[in-house]
């Protein structure tokens, strides 16, 4: 569904990602692992169109999207749930969700989509009018995921969904992720937490200094010594 | 560190250019001497503003306060109290310096950001013009007419024409030299540090308050002195010209066009734009008033869009391309 082909990308002319190739099949749940600064966030920002590729290609459903604007990509269904949640703090939960579905394709069916999201997260339903800034970290993560679903994502890219959450909330969020996967959503899970990701993703890529160090089935990645060295920076 | 400054002082080119400039009144008709005198006024003013606005990166819109104090107060002291204008010049300069120190202190004490600093200085400038227009002592809205310039040097008179030109040339040279001196002294280095990253400067122990006040006081005193001389040259202390925030805006734009933070940048901007504006005003002023300001505006917008760091860096790049072999660093 999403193919990354020899991608080089970075900021201000300095490459952060060197020659990355990866694929995510339809309905798959793929993990993207790596230590801090390995380039995980840069990669999903490149997929979102926030970072322009210096060379290489990104294809979505067979179509080259390397030069597409971020808006067009959201409309096509490539949706990111950013690291640190980035909910709009001075807007209500309802407004945050409405903004999630603001792209032209999702806009028409917002009421139905909203019902679905609120069914998934009953906690949000209870406080629709509350400002997002006053929510706990776990609730904000629910909202951020809900906002991503409002966009009618075809590929949902979650950047560090477990960051800063209590174990209970992490468990809850990952149950939701499993459920979305079971319903057929394609998911790219970006995580630093190795074991957690390997439990939920079928296939993984491990990034090290902007390159793919290890790739394959979760079990293979778990047992590959290079995975450990990528994490320890050896 | 001061090497460059002494080099400038010893430089035959510098003194040669100055000497050549001083010959101008013998060569050119008085109309052009007048235009060049005005240009020198703005060279001096833009250079003095540049010390705070360019080198320290603090866009101050309060410069009209200092120019206005120099112009209106020294004139009022002469006309109303009979104070010799040289003494008036000193008194005005001292008051301007104190005002400058106060503004710098407020900026520091209340930790104003860049934007707040622009706004507060603009508010001060507006207040200054309201005060002058409402104060009878300072001439109110109608301004103050100075006695005829008979060339009595002891009464701060230069005999108009060429005398005034030399006076302005000296002032402009002083302002530019002071800029060169500051840029090559520790002060210039600290001001640049403040401009580039005030928090970091503070963290490494730069005494920000001290350098901000020093820069502002130097800038204010120079502007005030030029203000006094400008009023004398015009023989009319006009509040709508000398106390209006518009004069600051002009100066800021000249400095921006020439090159902010550079010793010769503001001078370049003023020397290019003032003659252009004056010639336009002379030719079309009666049919199209405001044309010269209009052109200034267009030029500054174009320069900012094309070469945001001003014309001086652009000229230097061109020069380096034309004569790469002889370039001495």
């Amino acid at each position: 569904m999403l193919e990354i082909d020899h991608l080089v990308a970075g900021y201000g002319g300095v490459a952060v990602l060197h020659d990355i190739s990866a694929t995510i099949g339809a309905g798959e749940i793929v993990g993207l692992l790596g230590a801090n600064n390995a380039g995980k966030t840069t990669l999903i920002n490149a997929l979102s169109g926030m970072v322009k590729p210096m060379s290489g290609r990104i294809r979505f459903q067979g179509e080259d999207i390397s030069q597409m604007t971020p808006q067009a990509r959201v409309e096509a269904g490539i949706v990111q749930v950013p690291e640190g949640r980035l909910v709009f703090p001075d807007m209500s939960i309802r407004e945050n969700l409405l903004l999630g579905g603001i792209n032209a394709r999702a806009r028409k069916s917002r009421p139905q989509q909203m019902d679905k999201v609120l069914g998934l997260f009953p906690r949000l339903k209870e406080r629709l009018a509350q400002n997002a800034g006053s929510l706990s970290g776990g609730e904000q993560q629910m909202l951020a995921i809900g906002r991503g679903l409002m966009a009618e994502a075809r590929v949902l890219m979650l950047d560090e969904p477990s960051l800063g959450l209590s174990p209970l909330f992490v468990q809850y969020i990952f149950e939701i992720i499993d459920r979305l996967h079971a319903e057929g959503l394609t998911i790219l899970l970006v995580e630093q937490n190795l074991n957690l990701t390997l439990r939920h993703a079928r296939r993984c890529y491990v990034l090290e200094r902007g390159q793919v160090a290890v790739e394959g089935e979760a079990d293979l990645v778990r047992n590959d010594p290079r995975t450990r060295s990528a994490y320890l920076g050896l | 560190m001061r090497e460059e400054f002494y080099n400038t002082l010893r430089s035959p080119v510098w003194w040669g250019v100055l000497a050549l400039a001083a010959m101008v009144p013998f060569v050119l008709p008085s109309y052009y001497v007048h235009i060049l005198t005005l240009s020198l006024v703005y060279v001096a003013l833009a250079s003095s503003w540049n010390i705070v606005g360019g080198m320290a990166g603090q866009i101050s819109l309060a410069h009209s306060l200092f120019i206005g104090t120099g112009a209106m107060l020294s004139t009022a002291l002469l006309l109303k109290l009979g104070v010799n204008m040289w003494l008036g010049l000193l008194i005005s300069a001292a008051i301007s310096g104190a005002l400058g120190a106060l503004i710098a202190w407020i900026d520091f004490r209340f930790q104003l950001g860049h934007l707040s600093f622009v706004l507060i200085t603009l508010a001060f400038a507006e207040m200054g013009s309201i005060v002058v227009e409402g104060s009878e002592f300072l001439g109110g809205a109608s301004g103050l007419l100075l006695p005829k310039d008979t060339g009595n040097f002891l009464a701060f008179q230069f005999g108009g024409g060429s005398g005034a030109f030399w006076m302005m040339l000296a002032l402009a040279a002083i302002c530019v030299l002071v800029s060169v001196a500051i840029l090559n002294a520790p002060l210039g280095y600290y001001l640049r540090t403040i401009r580039d990253n005030e928090k970091a400067a503070q963290a490494i122990g730069v005494d920000i308050l001290r350098y901000k006040i020093t820069a502002m006081v130097i800038s204010a005193v120079l502007a005030s002195v030029v203000g006094t001389a400008y009023a004398r040259y015009l023989t009319f202390a006009d509040p709508y010209l000398l106390v209006s925030p518009v004069i600051t805006i002009e100066i800021v734009l000249f400095a921006t066009v020439g090159g902010l933070g550079r010793a010769y940048g503001p001078a370049l901007g003023a020397l290019l734009l003032v003659p252009l504006g004056e010639v336009l005003r002379g030719k079309l002023g009666s049919t199209l008033p405001g044309l010269h300001y209009f052109i200034y505006g267009i030029v500054v917008i174009a320069v900012i869009l094309i070469t945001p760091r001003g014309l001086l860096p652009l000229f230097e790049r061109l020069w380096a391309r034309v004569r790469p072999a002889t370039r001495i660093s």
Partner: protein
């Protein structure tokens, strides 16, 4: 006592329009971090366009807005696209200088076309008075007050409950996240700037009846607008309207109770005091 009521009423009426002037600037600052120092000259432009339409077609300023609002909105969009956008992200201070240059261009462009003599644009309601007990109010002021408030409420509703309004607030609160929602941040910035200038066209018509206008007045309007925006906490909607009322009342009290310059200084003194002691403006909850 009559003086007090008079000052309060007059201040409230004029202050509401100041608030409207400042809302445009606050919105623009909120979404693109740009402070437009030619704001007041755009007000001038709006006023002189009304004057031109009066001279040519005897249009009342209240009618002229049908033409001036769309024209000024378009000018605003062009100015943002071709002058300001190339500078955004460069250096904040260069935008200050750029808009100062633009201010000179506008002010003197107007001067070249209309000349420097103070001019008036007559309106049918210009000299009508409204007497309430001992308080005498000019009808144009009452119209300005009513329209400003209706417009402010309209803007408020727009920001709260339309997609465009929510996009504006989203870009203000987190531009990166807004882009990830599929919002075209650049487009929101252009439209907001255009909207801000369009509002000025309307405010210009409201301020016009009975007021002599001069090309050089722009800077003072800019300063008043800045005072209001800063008082209101830069981007807080209610704060800005409140700031407008405070500056309006300060001005009215200053001119009625204090002689000469001190009266005119009133708004500035209040502004400097608030800047220094409440730099976040009048609002208590900090907005990000």
């Amino acid at each position: 006592m009559t003086e007090l009521y008079q000052a309060l009423a007059q201040g409230l009426l004029i202050g509401s329009t100041y608030g409207l002037l400042a809302l445009g600037m606050g919105l623009v600052y909120g979404v693109s971090g740009v402070v437009n120092f030619s704001h007041g000259d755009f007000i001038s432009l709006g006023m002189f366009m009304c004057l031109a339409l009066y001279s040519a077609f005897s249009l009342d300023p209240y009618v002229s807005v049908i033409i001036t609002v769309p024209v000024m909105t378009a000018i605003g969009a062009l100015v943002y696209l071709y002058l300001i956008r190339p500078m955004v992200g460069h250096q904040f201070l260069m935008v200050v200088q750029l808009t100062l240059g633009l201010s000179l261009v506008l002010q003197n462009g107007i001067l070249m076309v209309f000349g420097g003599q103070p001019a008036r644009t007559p309106s049918m309601v210009e000299s009508k008075l409204f007497i309430l007990g001992d308080v005498v109010l000019r009808v144009p002021h009452i119209i300005a007050f009513a329209i400003s408030f209706v417009l402010a409420i309209g803007l408020y509703i727009m920001l709260r409950s339309t997609d465009f309004g929510r996009s504006i607030r989203a870009v203000h609160q987190n531009a990166h996240a807004a882009a990830l929602m599929g919002i075209d941040v650049g487009r929101v910035q252009v439209l907001t700037f255009a909207l801000g200038i369009g509002i000025l066209a309307l405010a210009a018509a409201l301020l016009l009846p009975g007021t002599p206008i001069q090309p050089t007045q722009g800077l003072r309007y800019t300063v008043i607008t800045l005072l209001v925006v800063v008082l209101g906490g830069m981007t807080n909607f209610v704060g800005i309207m409140l700031g407008g009322l405070i500056i309006g009342i300060a001005e009215a009290f200053g001119t009625i109770y204090l002689d000469g310059p001190l009266g005119l200084l009133m708004p500035y003194i209040i502004f400097v005091a608030i800047m220094l002691f409440r730099p976040q403006g009048l609002t208590w909850r900090s907005q990000r």
